[in-house]
């Protein structure tokens, strides 16, 4: 069993597991941090951005000044933003049989894999994962396509040139494999390869392996996966949460008894407590608005935003914010809000019971009804008429490189009354802000990452007790910035095996058994024999049939009837097939009883001699000698087949067959 690690990003994994005869891709994460190296895509012409100076080498050589721009000491690529794809060379991706998706954030590279590698398999995901994943992709494509950019920079990627660039461009990995965003057509084609699954559904892959999604508690429809055969079990844990937010709680019990547990998608901010972050978020928001400032919340169109809106629903009246408009701007804002209300079966118990009333599970329905929350596809159109300040705007993209958020950063950045609050943990907020410097606006960092922290992980591992743990290398040492915090790493026994991008791990795994079915007719013919109390044995001689990776034992064929001499027999027909094995024998032969038995069967003049290891029984008349020892019997006789067979059968009476 092997694990091919195609992504180095611990929360956006992409691994391929070879298990029995199947090749299974676990998640398809797209590392978008690469976009931080690019200039933002403004929705309306931004004089500031277009007037940034070109970058030149220390020696004054300015041949890159068309591609690279400088802003407050940082250098950015002036081009269509590009993404860092999973490794595509490590394994032939056309051999991948299935892709298992654990949550909507971990499927963003799907079109690159399914459309451009010869992939012909099936993708499995839950319905909310697919629907919301589609919204995330639609938003991304929309953000990028609605601001066409003529320039596509490639000179800087040249290895010899990249060496000369300042950090972080110099250290960016695999820049030659970075790709532009896919198209909506590719998204649709990729999504059409998905088959919907439900939690605890058992999906058979080629009769060899069974995969099952389990609730992971992190997002709507998010799952962990069990990959198992009858005797081996691999658990794939990705993006799980034990906090009570909106999704169905995590199913931990089903992870028990794993041979290998692959652990990815832990919290990216292990030191921040999500609950206190939400509190800070609310108080900073209120403070800014009361002072007449605007609040910008860069966010994804689904996920934590539902929880934030729910908090605000409870908070705004008590904080005296009821007159402040809340805007949610995204090409998929409406869809996201609507979809969240129809997935009751995937929600936590509290929200599920609401639909029995029947009421919408999320209170943002009421915020919309009372006009406190308004949603728009973009800043153009209706929004420009309704726009009132001070206000709170939720919009994407959290990288601040594209989407409507770019517009609000440009619009509000110059005033210290305004605040931008970062809640999404995927991007470093300082890097995200770099192309907007100098900035007067207040910046608050309240990352809300509900995924497992290291304390929860160690508790989980103690509870489910996997034989081996496999995780990204980042989890086997403390974070670089907090190297003394030995508590911020995965701690388990035996120590976790770690992987890094482009590595192949041989998993410590020995398969010993396989399931086989004994047909009822054969089972009926078996004669079990109790060897020890509670343990019975039966020798089985049967015909093995194997089809579609399923093995079946059927009764052996009856010996063929002689054909009546119609055909001439060839000499070779008589030669027995040496592959028909006789059973092994066990036991020992008590000489006295054996001699008695011989006598009973008409043998006379029997002589018994003692030897060092046993006895010799002599049948003088027949010139036959039988050596009997503890673990062996040797019959030496003339070529009298009748006699030999008689003696053989008498000996076998004392022995057990296996």
């Amino acid at each position: 069993m092997k694990l091919y690690c195609l992504s180095g990003h611990p929360t956006l994994p992409c691994n391929v597991l070879k298990f029995k005869s199947t090749t299974i891709m676990l998640d398809c994460g797209l590392d978008m941090t690469s976009t931080l190296n690019f200039l933002p895509l403004p929705l309306v012409q931004s004089p500031r951005l277009s007037n940034l100076p070109g970058w030149s080498l220390k020696d004054g050589n300015a041949f890159l000044d068309k591609e690279l721009k400088e802003c407050s000491g940082h250098v950015f690529v002036d081009s269509v933003p590009e993404f860092c794809l999973p490794e595509t060379e490590l394994i032939d991706l056309s051999t991948v049989d299935v892709i298992l998706i654990s949550n909507y954030h971990c499927m963003m590279a799907l079109p690159y894999i399914t459309e451009h590698t010869g992939f012909t398999g099936t993708v499995y995901a839950t319905e909310p994962t697919v629907q919301i994943g589609r919204l995330l992709m639609e938003e991304l494509v929309n953000f990028i396509e609605r601001v066409p950019k003529a320039q596509s920079a490639s000179l800087w990627k040249n290895k010899d040139i990249q060496r000369l660039l300042p950090s972080p461009l110099k250290d960016a990995v695999e820049v030659s494999t970075w790709r532009r965003c896919y198209t909506m057509q590719e998204v649709n084609s990729a999504l059409s390869k998905i088959q919907l699954v439900g939690y605890s559904q058992k999906i058979e892959l080629f009769g060899a392996v069974q995969v099952t999604p389990l609730s992971s508690g992190y997002a709507l429809g998010s799952s962990n996966w069990i990959i198992q055969s009858h005797y081996e079990k691999v658990s794939y844990v990705s993006g799980s949460s034990l906090l009570t937010t909106h999704p169905q709680p995590m199913d931990q019990a089903s992870l028990k008894n794993s041979d290998v547990l692959i652990l990815t998608g832990l919290t990216q901010i292990p030191t921040a407590n999500p609950d206190s972050m939400v509190g800070e978020f609310c108080s900073n928001l209120a403070l800014t608005v009361r002072n007449g400032g605007n609040v910008l919340v860069p966010c994804y169109p689904s996920g934590v935003i539902y929880d934030l809106l729910e908090c605000l629903y409870q908070y705004i009246d008590s904080a005296g914010l009821s007159s402040i408009p809340f805007y949610f701007i995204s090409p998929v804002a409406n869809s996201s809000l609507e979809f969240s209300q129809i997935f009751a079966e995937w929600l936590c118990h509290n929200k599920q019971t609401k639909v029995y009333l029947p009421e919408p599970p999320f209170p943002h329905a009421e915020l919309i009804q009372t006009n406190k929350l308004k949603h728009y596809p973009s800043i153009h159109g209706d929004f420009s008429n309704d726009f009132r300040q001070p206000c709170v705007v939720f919009t994407g993209h959290p990288s601040l490189r594209f989407g409507d958020v770019v517009h609000f950063m440009e619009l509000w950045g110059k005033s210290s009354l305004n605040t931008v609050i970062f809640t999404e943990p995927d991007f470093s907020y300082l890097e995200a802000l770099a192309p907007y410097q100098p900035l007067a606006m207040k910046c608050i960092y309240c990352p809300i990452d509900t995924r497992l922290n290291f304390i929860q992980v160690s508790k989980l591992l103690k509870e489910v007790q996997p034989l081996h743990v496999v995780c990204p290398e980042q989890y086997t040492q403390p974070p670089p910035a907090q190297s003394h915090r030995m508590d911020l790493m995965v701690d388990c026994q035996p120590p976790a095996m770690s992987y890094r991008r482009a590595e192949v791990l041989a998993l410590p795994f020995k398969r010993r058994y396989e399931k086989i079915e004994i047909m009822p007719e054969l089972a009926d013919s078996l004669v079990p024999m109790e060897i020890k109390p509670g343990i019975s044995l039966a020798t089985v001689s049967a015909v093995l049939h194997t089809k579609d990776n399923k093995h079946v034992l059927q009764p052996p064929p009856r010996p063929a009837q002689p054909t009546g001499g119609k055909k001439r027999k060839r000499a070779s027909d008589d030669i027995p097939d040496c592959k028909v094995l006789k059973p092994l024998l066990s036991g020992s032969i008590p000489v006295d009883q054996f001699v008695q038995t011989l006598e009973k069967h008409g043998f006379s003049d029997i002589k018994v001699e003692d030897t060092a290891k046993g006895h010799i029984v002599l049948l003088q008349e027949a010139e036959t000698l039988i050596q009997i020892e503890e673990d062996s019997t040797h019959i030496i006789c003339d070529d009298d087949e009748v006699l030999r067979v008689r003696l053989r059968d008498l000996v076998l009476k004392f022995l057990q067959k296996f």
Binding site: L537, A538, A571, L581, I635
Partner: protein
């Protein structure tokens, strides 16, 4: 001998109070727990004394499964769980769990408040009963206990309707509940995979009907409604609050919009608005089209259909009214029917099946003078139309489902005996499987022969598979091993491994036969001749001449020795172990025939 036993307590050769007991591999499951619309005495509920006379329900049943929210499938549930007494799990889908208590409460109100029945279940009992419910998701495998698992499949029919697979080890039964094999305006079609159950229990409401295309029926329906409204008549459509009601509302809503009609459409109040709200929240259970477009337009927000008020029934002019219940056996639909029945301009359209004994059934069978309570006789002058919009599979659909699931046996319930007879023959002919149609209280017993799963050591399996690869992988391969049975753990291992695991020593049984041949040549030469002889006869075997002068065939040893007394005779010693018995014996007899003369 293992067997599957099925006993319908209701819905055996009948429509109504569906309730079927299934025993499979020692587990007892009750499928549905419905009431009968045609009776208001004891016969309205299934006869649970069938179980209780030998013990408590909870002890006997491992679980109860409810297929959908129609009362003939869940109406007896509070009586069963709270009054007879059952504390085990009750499984149903989430929409069923949401809607079922509302219909039960409605049913209770009509029975107790309107008809004044005593000793009926109470509202509290409905609540307590629903606490025992466990929600099941589509395709989720629910482990009822270590051995019994159930799985739900989409059934169409009504919101949240499901078919259930009940499985223990390799034995399984599929119960369809009510289902629809053609997608309609708001629901998708039933679907099941090729799960090859031992038994498929299917409804057979429309066992003999093959319906014309749905489009024709819809056009027909709209034409009749339209004509009546045009001539100023009133149209009554008795429906159940959830199910066909939404289907027909969507149909009329789009027609009104397209034709720009002004006549009012009403929906009897109470349940309806709430009902439509459920549909909005359970969008994933509707059909593809609604799921795709619900963000832009929720099909369950009706513009032309308004809430009905009792006073409207007497207002002049045309109108269309949807009223509950669907079989005209009580409630608002019956009240409106009595008001409108005398006018030949009006029309009542029965869009679904009516159980015997209901007013609906009577007028559909042509009765025009109805005896009402208090010996009053109601003369029906209004037009009576029947139009099958019930979302049940027709004969074609039932055959289609049998084909999909590929069961070993089929059992028919939820239909009329005569019609079942016809379908039974058809199924037996076409699929060559046995088909049963037990009456209520009658038990069908099916012997099963499950195969036994055991673990085979990979070493043994691979050894046998490798042998099988040569020369022909398709050739059946003979496997020999030892089955070790410890508690319920069965493992098949090689004999050597079995001996080793059990700490037993092998006992070697060896034979050495002396074959006397008259020959004067030297032993070495003798051995050489034996070698060439065996080599020529045993072409497929490994024959070797060893340096020490002996000859081996596979692991059988042949040595030539001088005779102690007769120099003209040589002795061939053939030695083999018990495992080589056949070959050893064969060699002895072969050598006994003598060696061919050297040419």
């Amino acid at each position: 001998m293992p067997e599957i036993r099925v006993t319908p307590l209701g819905a055996g050769q009948d429509v109504g109070r569906s309730c079927i007991l299934v025993s499979i591999a020692g587990k007892n499951v009750m499928l549905d727990c419905g009431m009968h619309m045609g009776f208001s005495d004891d016969r309205r509920f299934p006869d649970f004394s069938y179980i209780t006379r030998s013990g408590r329900l909870t002890d006997f049943l491992d679980c109860v499964i409810i297929s959908h929210f129609h009362l003939d499938h869940c109406g007896a549930l509070p009586y069963f769980s709270e009054m007879v007494g059952y504390d085990g799990p009750i499984y149903m889908t989430q929409p069923t769990q949401a809607i079922c208590p509302i219909l039960l409460e409605d049913y209770r109100k009509i029975a107790v408040d309107k008809k004044g029945e005593a000793n009926f279940f109470t509202s509290q009992m409905i609540k307590d009963c629903m606490k025992k419910v466990v929600a099941v998701h589509l395709h989720q495998t629910v482990q009822v206990d270590d051995e019994l698992e159930i799985k739900a499949y989409y059934a169409g029919h009504v919101l949240g309707a499901a078919m259930f697979q009940i499985k223990v080890g390799s034995e399984s039964v599929v119960y369809t509940g009510d289902y629809n094999m053609t997608p309609d305006r708001h629901l998708g079609a039933a679907w099941i995979d090729k799960c090859r159950p031992n038994l498929l229990i299917t409804e057979s409401t429309y066992a003999t009907t093959i319906r014309d295309s749905k489009r024709c029926r819809e056009r027909d329906f709209l034409k009749k409604v339209h004509e009546t409204v045009e001539r100023g008549g009133k149209v009554l459509i008795p429906v159940f609050a959830l199910g066909r009601a939404q289907e027909l509302c969507i149909l009329l809503e789009t027609f009104w919009e397209r034709m720009d009609l002004k006549a009012p459409i009403y929906f009897s109040t109470g349940l309806t608005e709430k009902a439509n709200h459920y549909y909005k929240l359970f969008i994933p259970w509707t059909n593809q089209k609604i799921r795709k477009t619900f963000v832009q337009r929720n099909m369950f927000e009706f513009k032309h259909i308004k809430a009905f008020d009792r006073a409207f029934a007497d207002s002049p002019g045309p109108m269309v009214v949807f009223a509950t219940p669907g079989m005209l056996h009580a409630g608002q639909s019956l009240q409106i029917f009595r008001k409108w029945a005398g006018n030949e301009k009006n029309m009542v359209i029965m869009p679904g099946y009516c159980v015997q004994g209901t007013v609906g059934h009577k007028i559909l069978s042509g009765q025009r003078k109805l005896e009402m309570e208090g010996r009053q006789v109601l003369e029906v002058k209004m037009q009576v139309e029947y139009m099958s919009f019930s979302a049940h599979a027709d004969a074609k659909g039932i055959m289609q489902l049998v084909g999909q699931a590929e069961p070993e046996n089929v059992l028919l319930v939820h239909g009329e005996a005569k019609k079942m007879e016809f379908l039974k023959q058809k199924i037996e002919q076409e699929f060559r499987v046995n088909c049963y149609m037990p009456a209520n209280g009658e038990t069908v017993t099916l012997p099963t022969s499950p195969s036994i799963p055991v673990g085979i050591s990979l070493g043994l399996l691979k050894r046998e598979m490798a042998q099988g690869l040569l020369p022909d992988a398709k050739k059946p391969r003979l496997l020999h091993g030892t089955l070790i049975m410890k508690d319920s753990n069965f493992r098949l291992v090689s004999s050597e491994q079995a001996l080793k695991e059990l700490g037993l020593a092998e006992h070697q049984l060896r034979f050495t036969c002396r074959v006397h041949l008259h020959d004067t040549r030297k032993e070495q030469e003798m051995a050489m001749r034996v070698y060439s002889h065996l080599k020529s006869v045993l072409k497929d075997h490994c024959v070797q001449h060893l340096p020490d002068g002996s000859v081996t065939v596979e692991s059988i040893l042949v040595q030539a020795a001088a005779h102690s007394e007769d120099p003209g005779t040589k002795v061939l010693l053939v030695s083999w172990t018990y495992q080589d018995e056949e070959l050893g014996s064969y060699l002895t007899s072969l050598l006994k025939k003598g060696l061919p003369q050297a040419s």
